[in-house]
């Protein structure tokens, strides 16, 4: 406990330099804008910015501070277009439209924004405290992990991701296997033989994760916009009066218990691998509706209905950092992107990170605290500025996003071949979206494929080829059990939940 607090104090020493503060501010600002713009979520935003962080030659800690600030910022920003335009800026912000839009229609847009801004702060702030105390505990458990347990843990991440976050288990399994298969391309690190390179020297180094993610997420988004350009909703913010932009005190008092409960739910939803922020906001909203909606005001502009999903999804964003930092196993698209960046900087997250690079971990956590206060300041008094950003028409915005993607990838490798691979990934991403195949498992697969194989082969080397080692310790049996349950149970549970969610969303569209 005391030890943790003193590490945190050291972290503040790292984060309170001019460079880190400036990067945190820049990240918060960019993140809020990225989150607010429809079609650009946290994972897109962070993915586009990673190549830049590299090309700028930032050291690990400042680079991580920049990108996690973008991540937190995007989680805050997602609510702005949800409330004002009824278009969620990102998936986790979807639940916020349910009560946010009716509040805005009642002329309480400013209050809804301010209140949800404060709820975001509350959720993220306490989730960061959760991260401070839970991550070191998890690290103690993780130190007991051998290669066999790690292999099982990777399977667990894919299984819960496929089980919880997707509607079709077969497609999620396909997506994960596809991503892992892509990771197999290139020279095998243990024996030095080329695999799946079809004689092309370009493939010897494998497919760069960043090329894959920028293509799959950012470029495919451009194709989606091109496809639907005739039916693009015009962002029209002119009709909405912001009104007062501070939350009234009685509203804060009334929604306070909701905020606490949603933060708790969101945080634990975030810690579960594969669940992430969308589940956090969904669980928080549904639970609050069951618990406090006595007069049936949820869905009609109840402030508590705005607070619950926002506190929930921001808390989940903090929770999702716990397994990423402590175990090195990301549970969501955005934390996968952050992990990719750490790996590229030659830092391996996991229990050893806390021992070998405490400055990175605690500097990052301190920066998250600082970033939260910056975001609160940015998101309550200055919300009007972000509303204006929403008025940039998509036909200028998306080409800009596409060109920045090219700049980023070209900046890393300077190779035309990588740019073409990125375009191919853009097309693949578009096709997979059409077929309703989730993209996050693909990304996670491309990123984790080699680590997963290494752990399997290490385990097999230890046991001299006996597959039984994968199920030899109680710890690994436990992980396998959770993985199997996590994959199968949602087949029955999640469909019901999803259907309910869809009903709620369509019902709110009708009235």
């Amino acid at each position: 406990m005391l030890e943790t607090l003193s590490s945190l104090a050291d972290g503040f020493g790292v984060a309170l330099t001019f460079q880190c503060l400036a990067l945190a501010f820049l990240g918060c600002l960019l993140g809020t804008v990225i989150g607010a713009l429809p079609g650009l979520g946290p994972s897109n935003g962070v993915a586009i910015l990673i190549p830049l962080a590299f090309s700028l030659g930032l050291a690990p800690t400042p680079a991580l501070i920049l990108l996690t600030s973008v991540y937190y910022g995007a989680m805050y920003g997602g609510r702005i277009s949800s409330i004002l335009l009824n278009i969620p800026g990102d998936e986790p912000a979807m639940m916020t439209t349910l009560d946010g839009v009716p509040m805005a229609r009642k002329g309480q847009a400013g209050e809804a924004l301010a209140l949800s801004g404060f709820a975001s702060f509350f959720g993220a702030f306490f989730a960061t405290w959760g991260l401070v105390f839970l991550a070191p505990l998890l690290v103690k458990v993780a130190l007991l992990f051998g290669p066999a347990e790690y292999f099982a843990l990777f399977v667990l991440a894919f299984a819960t991701l496929g089980g919880v976050a997707s509607t079709n288990q077969a497609k999620a399994a396909f997506a994960a296997a596809l991503g892992l298969a892509i990771a197999m391309i290139g020279v095998d690190s243990q024996t030095g033989v080329p695999r799946f390179s079809f004689g092309q020297v370009h493939f010897y180094d494998g497919i760069d994760f960043l090329v894959a993610i920028v293509g799959l997420f950012a470029l495919s988004e451009v194709f989606v916009f091109l496809e639907h350009k005739s039916s693009l909703k015009k962002s029209d913010t002119s009709g909405i009066k912001l009104g007062r932009i501070t939350p009234p005190l009685w509203m804060l008092r009334k929604t306070f218990p909701t905020m606490c409960r949603s933060t708790l739910f969101g945080f634990f939803a975030g810690v579960l691998p594969g669940a992430g922020a969308s589940l956090g906001s969904f669980i928080s909203y549904s639970f609050e509706k069951q618990l406090v909606d006595r007069e049936n005001t949820f869905g009609k502009g109840d402030p508590r209905g705005v607070v619950a999903p926002e506190a929930g999804n921001n808390a989940a964003a903090g929770g999702a950092l716990v397994p990423m930092l402590a175990l090195g196993v990301p549970g969501s698209g955005t934390t996968a992107v952050l992990l990719a960046m750490l790996l590229a900087l030659n830092i391996t997250p996991g229990p050893l990170l806390f021992q070998n690079n405490p400055d990175v971990v605690w500097g990052l956590i301190a920066a998250l605290f600082i970033g939260n206060f910056m975001l609160l300041a940015l998101n309550i008094p200055l919300v009007g500025m972000f509303v204006r950003v929403l008025m940039i028409p998509t036909h200028y915005l998306m080409p800009g996003v596409a060109m920045i993607s090219f700049v980023g990838i070209y900046g890393i490798s300077g190779s035309t071949f990588d740019l073409i691979v990125m375009v191919v990934f853009g097309v693949v991403g578009w096709v997979l979206r059409k077929l309703d195949v989730p993209l996050v498992p693909v990304i996670l697969g491309v990123l984790l494929g080699n680590l997963m194989e290494q752990n399997l082969r290490r385990a097999m080397t230890i046991s001299d080829g006996d597959w039984g080692i994968l199920f030899a310790s109680p710890l690994s049996i436990g992980i396998w059990t959770v993985a199997v349950v996590g994959f199968i149970l949602p087949i029955f549970m999640a469909r019901r939940l999803r259907r309910k969610l869809e009903r709620e969303v369509t019902a709110s569209d009708v009235d």
Binding site: L52, T191, Y396, G411
Partner: protein
């Protein structure tokens, strides 16, 4: 229907992947399971999930018409051409044209797209190259 076709293609991909995995040459250094085993497992998962998708197809995908396909193919062609031209004529010039094209096709008026193309290109150049010092493609004129 789309799901059945998709499952079929996925199955072919899975089988192709397994076949390619069996062709991986063995090296003189080796570990108990070697470089082939994990890829083969992945190929099996790919094939099995494809069969499941084929047998239990979900809702049908909503494919766009020929016009939209032509639109998307043209955009892909432009982006690939952009990738080739970038090192030849430099960042600023090639980006003006690529961004102009995308703005236009996403529904900007002609004049707006021209202004959009030039400002996106110069904006990125100014911000990323001049301010942040990122190296962009240099053409014959150095920008």
């Amino acid at each position: 229907m789309s799901d059945r076709v998709f499952g079929g293609i996925g199955l072919l991909l899975g089988v192709f992947f397994i076949w390619q995995a069996t062709l991986i040459p063995l090296s003189f250094i080796s570990d108990p399971i070697g470089p082939k085993t994990f890829p083969i497992i992945l190929g099996v998962v790919l094939s099995l999930s494809s069969v499941a998708i084929m047998l239990l197809p979900g809702g049908s995908a909503d494919w766009p018409g020929m016009r939209t396909f032509a639109e998307l193919s043209a955009a892909v062609a432009v982006l690939i051409a952009y990738s080739f031209v970038l090192p030849l004529v430099g960042f600023v010039v090639s980006t003006i044209f690529a961004a102009f094209y995308l703005c236009l096709r996403l529904g900007a008026p002609l004049k707006g797209a021209a202004i959009g193309g030039v400002s996106i290109s110069l904006g990125i150049y100014a911000l990323f190259h001049l301010v942040l010092g990122l190296s962009l493609a240099r053409g014959p004129w150095g920008f």
